[in-house]
Every structure is written in structure tokens, then in C-alpha cells.
């Protein structure tokens, strides 16, 4: 089965500008017509992974997170914490049917785990 990296997420202080830039550069389409109002990126290719853009507060940095698909978000968080990860956003059932959690790995790098219903 494996644990594939399912999605990249750009955390941006100016999500609209970010969407415009990458759409113009790569021809990606960005669609936010979903219950979370989440800017879903379609790269237009079946190769690689798809992504999204999430707004960051003004004082935060712009960065990219990777989300790995897991069978059980709660169990994965527990395991990650045992390995030294720090929980940032606890397992959450987002509008739209995705369950996710965000953590920092022991080096302080942000990453997420997700399960789609």
C-alpha cells in the first residue's frame, strides 16, 4: 500500500498573487469552489502530485508543506509524536471531507498527514 505524498500546500501571505503567479508560469488551474474555500491546484498532469494554497497570517513566513496519505490520521499522529514530532493542528475533519493533521518533525519542519473520505 505504501504512504504516498498526496499533496503539496503553499502557505502564502498573498494567496491570490501566488495563485496568479503559478497559473501564469505553469498554466496550473486554481479552483476554490469547495466548502473550505480552499484554492485547489490542478497541475494539468497525471504525473506528480496536485496541490493547494492556504492563506498565512501577515507575521508568518511563506513556505511549502507536503501531505502524506495515511489510513488513520490519529494513529499516525500518535506514532509521529513518539518519534519526536510536535503536533500543530490536531486531527481535524475539514469541510469538504478531508481529515488532516499538521505537525513539526524533530528538525522543526512542518508537514501534514491526510485521509480523504
Amino acid at each position: 500500500m505504501g504512504k504516498p505524498v498526496r499533496q503539496f500546500q503553499i502557505i502564502s501571505k498573498s494567496p491570490e498573487e501566488t495563485a496568479r503567479f503559478y497559473s501564469n508560469l505553469f498554466g496550473w488551474t486554481v479552483n476554490s469552489d469547495n466548502p473550505l474555500g480552499y484554492r485547489e491546484i490542478n497541475t494539468g498532469s497525471v504525473d506528480g502530485i496536485q496541490g493547494g494554497i492556504w492563506p498565512a497570517p501577515p507575521q508568518a513566513s511563506n513556505f511549502v508543506q507536503l501531505f502524506t496519505a495515511v489510513d488513520d490520521v490519529q494513529a499516525c499522529v500518535k506514532h509521529a509524536e513518539e518519534l519526536g514530532a510536535q503536533l500543530i493542528i490536531p486531527p481535524t475533519a475539514l469541510p469538504g471531507g478531508v481529515e488532516l493533521a499538521v505537525m513539526h518533525d524533530p528538525q522543526g519542519m512542518s508537514f501534514g498527514v491526510m485521509k480523504t473520505s
Binding site: L36, G37, Y38, W54, P57, F63, A93
Partner: protein, 218 residues
Amino acid sequence: MWASSILQVMSSFEFRDWLSQELEKRRRVNPRYSLRAFATLLGTDHSTVSQVLRGKRRVPVAVLRRWGKRLGLTAEEVAAYVAIEHVPDASITKRQEELRHWTAEALAVMKDQTHWQIVRISQMPGFRPDCRWIAKQLGVSVDDVNIPLSRLLRLCLLKIERPRQWKVSVGRNPVSEAEFQKCALIRVRQFAAVRGVKLGRISRKSAAERSTIKWVSQ
């Protein structure tokens, strides 16, 4: 995060590390080359050099210039090492980042009423777990809902364990704005403490008015 990464890279180029490499270089050529001989070359005593190499003592700029010159560094190289010596070490930078982060979190929950409004509306009859709908009800953009929503989740002020079940984990239900802010500040203080940042008692009114919060670093 990027700043601390750069500092981590830079810290491997500290003068102390270079000094240690210079000593090793001499020992490779002459295994009997002593710390005492190295100190003599630098014009100081071996105990001082030993303390510097073990990171127990910083090198004052004037000494760095003198030792650098004796070991053949160019003026530009000396200037670079002097600049690096002025960069705060990674632990200080990390603490400053934490201070900035938690101050911003506290100010945000105090000053942006959307946090409380999301909490309030999520408990009202007819609530729809749809950020577009929430934004419309509150008269703000979806981004202006999603940024506070992330913060509420980070601070565990709101829990969404099932798509239609948004659970408020502060105060009574319905929670008043004052009650929410009080609980939110307590929560920020708890989270900050876990990260080594101690927040003194603050008044909600003064925080909202002054837009600064006094933090005490542990």
C-alpha cells in the same frame, strides 16, 4: 524557519570551527604538534585557546583579528568571521522566533473579532460547516475566515472531529466574547510555556489597546 536554517549553516563557519580545523591541519602534518605550540603561534596561552575551541569562551573581535592575521587570513576573511561573531546563536534566534510567534498569536485572538465570531456562529442553529457560508454570514472574505480558523484549531479552541460537529473547547456554551478572549489568552500562555516562553499576566483591555504584550522569556 529559513532564518534559523541559514544561521545553522553559518554556525558551521564560525571562527572557532576554522581555528579547530587549522589546529587539526597542523597535527596531520606533525602528530606531535601541541595545543601549547598552537597557542604560542597565536601569541596567547594554551588554556585560552582550549576554552575557545571547546566553545567555553567567545573570541573578542580584536583577538579574532590578531589571531586571524597570524594564521594567514586575508582582511576580507577576517571581516567575514567578525560579522558571523555578531550573529546571535541559533538558540537565541529560536527563542526570539517563539516570542514573536506567540505574541502575534495572542494579539491576533485579541484584536481580530472573527475568531470569536467563528466560534459563536458554529454553535448556532442552522450552522453550515462551509467556510464560504461563514464568510458570507460574517461579511468577510474566505481567507479572513480561514486564517482565524487555522489559529483556533492550532490553539485547540475549536475542535472539528466530525465534519458537521464543531466543538468549542473554551468556556460555557454560548461563550461570551470576553469569556472567549480570556480562555484564548490562557490557552496561548499554555502553548507558549510548552515552547519555553513564559507570558506574564496581561490585561485583555491593555493588550487590545496597546497592541503590545509583555512576554518573559524563560
